[in-house]
């Protein structure tokens, strides 16, 4: 089954993340992960959900998330309450990656959250995960981007080959909000 526009974004699994705080500013600092309550996040709000195959891997490090980080204000201006970046990497790795990419604001408008074994993404449909076990990466989230308004998907599309194209670009998402 593949979910799409009009369907509810799955909320049965909450991703975990480490919120950015000034005390944990160092890339190698560690804090405890907490759950992001998706049902609460979505209620009455506009949320951007996007996913990457892996932290610190070439395409996403160099293009996808930096593109979003450059346009945070534009997302806010459109009424987005939060951007959730999902990946199958654990919350510690994701927290370090977020800081390495330069997002260091206690507002945590963008959060880097662990989709455990890509299970949330697999609830969206097969094309939202990528089995990279043969190269030692396990099952990962595919690269995709979506818009969730009051819990319902209003836009959702994956990249065909895990790369970064206009499909998951900030411009495409901003144009559709």
């Amino acid at each position: 089954m593949t979910l799409g526009v009009g369907d509810k974004f799955p909320t049965s699994i909450n991703p975990k993340y480490v919120p950015y705080t000034k005390e944990n500013d160092k890339l190698t600092a560690c804090a405890n992960p907490i759950e992001l309550n998706l049902a609460k996040e979505f209620a009455g709000k506009t949320v951007v959900v996007t996913a990457v195959p892996g932290a610190f891997t070439p395409t996403c490090t160099e293009q996808h998330i930096p593109d979003y980080l450059k346009n945070l204000q534009a997302f806010k201006d459109k009424g987005v309450s939060r951007i959730i970046v999902l990946s199958a990497n654990d919350p510690f790795v994701l927290s370090a990656w977020g800081k390495a990419l330069g997002y260091k604001e206690e507002e945590n408008f963008i959060v880097f959250a662990n989709d455990p074994l890509a299970k949330i993404s697999s609830e969206l449909g097969d094309k939202y995960t990528a089995d990279l076990s043969s190269v030692g990466f396990g099952v990962r989230t595919a690269r995709y981007a979506g818009i969730v308004v009051d819990g319902k998907i209003t836009f959702l599309q994956n990249e065909d080959e895990l790369g970064f194209t206009e499909i998951s670009s900030s411009k495409n998402i901003l144009d559709r909000i």
Binding site: D90, S133, G136
Partner: protein
């Protein structure tokens, strides 16, 4: 089959890694992405066999960027590299985890950078080679019952072993049985009879 002292270390063990150039690590950009390559342990042993630092130290951690290994376990090794080479004849230190090679590389570069900042007189020549590598799918660790999947993907135990390249035998093995660092940390290695 356990890894045991006096046993032969297996052949054909491979990890995936991105080499870290220690001379460049101070200016390193952790976001620079390079392509992972294979680390063939047999080749590494060959290159160190017969030298005055023939021992290879392998330290495994459950995860890059996780609290215990970032804060307590690996940094002490990186700030005592000269001792490891001089006192323990260790010619290479390999840190492994089941994280992918990109994640391990980024983590390794950060830890090395921090460790070097604390050692103004660091000399790469007096230090063992430092390698941060991925035990892909836990293949090596699993063969010795040193990796398990508790529902969040396969992770290695926290352990350390020293192998002598010249005769390929295991000279030290220690695995943690509870949280913390006792048998696989710097003190255990510096205190081991190799």
């Amino acid at each position: 089959m356990p890894l045991e002292v006096t046993e032969k270390f297996p052949s054909n063990v491979e990890f995936q890694y991105i080499p870290i150039n220690i001379d460049e690590v101070k200016e390193v950009n952790v976001l620079k992405c390079e392509i992972p390559t294979l680390l063939k342990l047999d080749k590494l042993f060959e290159s160190l066999a017969g030298t005055n630092a023939p021992n290879v130290l392998i330290v495994a951690v459950p995860g890059a960027f996780t609290p215990t290994c970032t804060e307590n376990h690996i940094p002490p090794f990186l700030t005592h590299l000269t001792d490891l080479k001089k006192d323990k004849k260790i010619g290479a230190v390999i840190i492994i985890a089941t994280n992918d090679a990109f994640v391990i590389n980024a983590w390794g570069k950060l830890l090395i950078k921090d460790a070097l900042a604390a050692q103004p007189n660091f000399s790469a020549e007096e230090s063992p080679k430092i390698i941060f590598a991925s035990d892909v799918n836990g293949a090596f660790s699993k063969a010795y019952d040193l990796a398990s999947d508790k529902g969040t993907g396969i992770r290695t135990s926290r352990y350390a072993t020293v192998v002598n390249s010249s005769d390929r035998t295991v000279k030290y093995f220690g695995v943690e049985v509870e949280r913390g660092v006792k048998f696989s940390g710097l003190d255990a290695i510096l205190g081991a009879k190799l």
